[in-house]
Amino acid sequence: MTTLVEALRLAALQEMKRDPRVWVLGEDVARGGLFGQYRGFLEKFGPDRVVSTPISEAVIMGAGLGAALVGTRPIIEMRIFDFVMCAMDELVNQIAKIRYMFGGQARPSLVVRMPHGLWRNSAAQHSQVLEAWFAHLPGVVVVAPSTPADAAGLLVSAIRSDDPVLFFDPKNLFGVEGEVPEVIEPIPFGRVRRVQSGNGLTIVSWSALMPAVQQAAAVLASRGIGAEILDLRCLWPWDQAAVVASARRTGRLLVAHEAVEVGGFGAEIIACVAEHAPGVKLARCGMPRVPLPFSPPLEEAIKVTPAKIVAAADRLLAR
């Protein structure tokens, strides 16, 4: 059994051994990274491929792009997602557009790693879940795994991809354990993982909310309601076919995510199913449109919990 963060470490390690063009840059990465996800890399690959940088997010992001343009394959480590806000021009105006804008002359092969989500009462500036923004942004792949095996396999795919991949590390699940194969094979983008089958309703979720969804499903199961659970894993490309097919079959779709409900990626999924599979009963469960508070009872009041998912499922089933 391997923790999720260790699975990610092993995946990056494997790829850096495989391909000398792969390197990592970000704050404190030479000391193993904030979460130990690069532990031992400096010793193995040296300071030119494991670059501890100044607190200069704009250049961490932009230098990664420039280095990709000359044929290296950087892993751009952003430490905590919220700091990406200091590098948005480089990500949104440059990385996401450069291939298109230049008519295909450039192919920025890079991964941006952004540990995101709620984690140990970190409050408003260290807990954001804005993954939906990037599904809306042309030019990037958006990955948001929830298990050690998926995280490792998708990170391998991300590093080997010729497209810019935004990789949302689920930081609250870093300690979760699971099996990871000796040799980590790439997992293709855009395919759901079917967590469990069921006929009562379909629940789609991803990233750090998956354990809560599974707990909610257990409660529903104890009442005789079988939920089909799909872990989306990728927000772009996303597995529309699998979601629509499951929703059609069960007749009910609940999308649950850690992010704010208004304008979250759940809206896209619901809208898509509403357009393509009329008649399916639809519901969402996300955070209210409120910044993340610090105090535990306040955070608890805001965040999506198994109980809230069960309540949303109950309302959906009652319709």
Binding site: E27, T53, P54, I55, R289, F294, S295, P296, P297, A301
Partner: protein, 323 residues
Amino acid sequence: MNATTANAAHWLALHRSMCRIRAFEETALAAHQAGDIPGPLHVSIGQEAVAAGVCLNLRREDRITSNHRGHGHALAKGAGVAGMMEELHGRAGGHCGGKGGSMHIADFSVGMLGANGVVAGGIPIAVGAAQGLKLLGLDHIAVCFFGDGAINRGPFLEGLNWAALYRLPVLFVCEDNGVAAFTRAADVTAGPGVVARAAALGVPAVTVDGNDVGAVDAAAARLVAEVRGGAGPRLLHAQTYRHTGHTSTDAAAWRPADEVAAAKQGEPIARFEARLLAEGVATAAELAAVREDALAEMQAARAAAMAAPWPDPATAFSDVLGA
């Protein structure tokens, strides 16, 4: 230093301020280790002279912005201890009603415009506060505390250039503890340093021994007077040392033990006490009493915070938009 009656009182205030910061943070650290304070906690033990030396030269109406390591700045600026301790404990009576915590400590009633979870995040805000104060025709100033790590972020350049351009009443204070998280400042900072950077942006700057509260106080007094007088922005570069790790859960084991030991040797409170004794400003017993009072104050605040009610979950939905 020359102990006239007037500055004797000021020196004792500096000492008391440092002791209160130290006591607050030692208390908070223990509370965090006991699991009573959630979230990340960054303490400034060893750096107290900077907060005290600068803030005791300010008016209540002057504004400060701070960074992730902001307890000292807040306390020195006069923030209420009960509200701070409750905030750290996530209680309803905290300055932010439990919404902010340590990393977002703020007390607008004393001009403390907030700690900040983003490195250099307070720089543009302080610059704007100064611009607003100037526009309103007030002679209050803004003071902006940040670490050595912040001088490698873009807002440092943009903010200093801006402040110089509009001759804004803002004092930048770079608290240089030689390290940013787990990386040495020297390993990520090119060129001759923050003073040269400031000068190149039109902001006159001076370096002081940030562990000598007397030196910080003297420099701050002069710079605050210049800034308030309309001379435009100034930067104070205070060299200090962070005794503990980056957060309360970081042992900073990578630092050589003798380096840490040497720094503790020259720590600002004991050092200032030696001078106060030598100058005859206070007796050892008086100084010990100040320390003990501070500790008692903070421990009482902690006990009160532990007994204080948690916020009503309904308040999680207020303070977003509208009334």
